[in-house]
């Protein structure tokens, strides 16, 4: 009798585990499921004209170092812009409040992330502040333009140096 009970218990456990795994796969994988939480830190918002495929959970980085995460992405139907809430880790509390935020791409196939470029102000971003200067997601054509512009300016700098 006891073995029958432990057998049914084992089966129940197995079936439960299996369905929990199935549930995880069907609900958490596609779409926005698990949010990787940065508890702590402070929130800053930024408004963009176009955020590309930026998602909650994407990194926020400054000089290439991750300093926080995108907490949420919302649409403001008032001015037709995307409102991105960034959660910055608490130790990075000396970011000038006139810094700019831009949406950039990691590598060739990589996803989008928010890059922060430092400003020159003496006051710092704090919980609830908004980043005024933003640059939208880069479209491939503008990337190519940028490349050529960069190329040309490098060329003229080289001439100057000589």
């Amino acid at each position: 009798m006891k073995s029958q009970r432990s057998l049914e218990l084992g089966t129940g456990l197995f079936v439960l585990l299996g369905f929990a795994a199935l549930f995880f796969l069907t609900t958490q994988l596609p779409g926005s499921g698990v949010s990787i939480g940065g508890a702590g830190g402070y929130r800053v918002t930024a408004r963009f004209d176009n955020i590309g495929d930026l998602k909650g959970g994407s990194p926020v980085s400054m000089a290439g170092v991750r300093i926080g995460r995108v907490e949420s992405v919302a649409f403001d139907s008032g001015d037709y812009r995307a409102v991105v809430t960034l959660r910055i880790d608490p130790q990075y509390n000396r970011i000038p409040d006139d810094s700019d935020a831009s949406i950039q791409t990691q590598g060739l196939l990589g996803g989008k992330y928010v890059g922060i470029g430092p400003g020159g102000s003496d006051s710092y971003l704090k919980d609830g502040s908004q980043i005024e200067f933003t640059q939208s997601a880069i479209v491939l054509e503008s990337l190519v333009n940028k490349f050529f512009a960069n190329f040309a300016s490098k060329g003229s700098e080289g001439e100057k140096a000589q």
């Binding site: 089966t11 596609p30 990787i36 990194p59």
Partner: protein, 248 residues
């Protein structure tokens, strides 16, 4: 040779029909089915989880090595998730299932055949298909998708362990890219595959056991054949199903 193969395939199909006809009556006695889910599923859980972890970890390493050449190691989550969900999860689980649960089914039924237990049941007008074969078949079919799901989840965490903790891929990028790239259809493809493999592997296992020669050698041969036929059938079905899903 060809005629023998054809006859064999035909016999398996007829056998499948007879087993399926007994499935509904077998389900009316859920206790024996539960017992078989325990045998085929719960007792395979440890090996499935262990292998899932290692497969996921290898995916993490190999995926990282490949993707960093293109500077897109953040896509590791996508690579690991799609690789596990669509191919590695169902196939590796089916191969392990054939080796772990399939052989047990074949030798158990084969030994019943060799010791004339099945004949004794027939003598007492108890249908061995209903009471022996159908519950074992159902247990395997029910256990397989659940095992695959567990394998996939453990594998994902294995990939995350290597990719994020060891190789330094960003956690947020790993999960958020995975979530934006994996469609519900990809999950469904894995589930359909796992159900098909479950039917194929369980059918082969019970058929080989049921038709085993009633000798010690015959049971041994049948057990070997279960592993070989299940593995080949799994990989063949995998190709067909993949082609069907891509062609949609």
């Amino acid at each position: 040779m060809i005629a023998a193969t054809l006859q064999r395939i035909g016999a398996v199909v007829v056998f499948l029909g007879r087993v399926l006809a007994q499935c509904a009556p077998a389900l009316r006695r859920p206790r024996s089915v539960v017992h078989q889910i325990y045998n085929a599923g719960a007792r395979s859980l440890i090996i499935i989880m262990l292998c899932g972890l290692f497969v996921g970890m290898v995916l993490g390493l190999q995926g990282f090595d490949l993707l960093q050449r293109f500077g897109s190691e953040d896509a590791l989550g996508v690579a690991a998730a799609l690789g596990l969900l669509k191919e590695l999860g169902p196939v590796v689980t089916a191969l392990l299932f054939a080796g772990r649960a399939g052989t047990a089914l074949t030798s158990e039924i084969g030994l019943m055949r060799a010791t004339d237990q099945l004949t004794a049941m027939e003598m007492m007008a108890v249908d061995p298909l209903r009471h022996v074969v159908a519950p074992r078949f159902l247990g395997g079919v029910i256990a397989m998708p659940l095992l695959v799901a567990v394998f996939n989840v453990i594998g994902l965490f294995g990939a995350q362990l290597i990719g994020v903790q060891l190789m330094g891929v960003d956690t947020g990028a790993f999960w958020s890219q995975m979530q934006s790239a994996v469609e519900l259809d990809d999950v469904h493809e894995g589930i359909v595959k796992s159900v098909c493999f479950g039917i194929a592997c369980s059918l082969v296992a019970v058929y080989e056991g049921y038709t085993a020669k009633p000798t010690a050698e015959g049971v041994g041969l049948a057990t070997t054949r279960t592993v070989v036929v299940s593995s080949v059938l799994t990989l063949l079905l995998d190709y067909i199903l993949t082609a069907a899903f891509l062609g949609r």
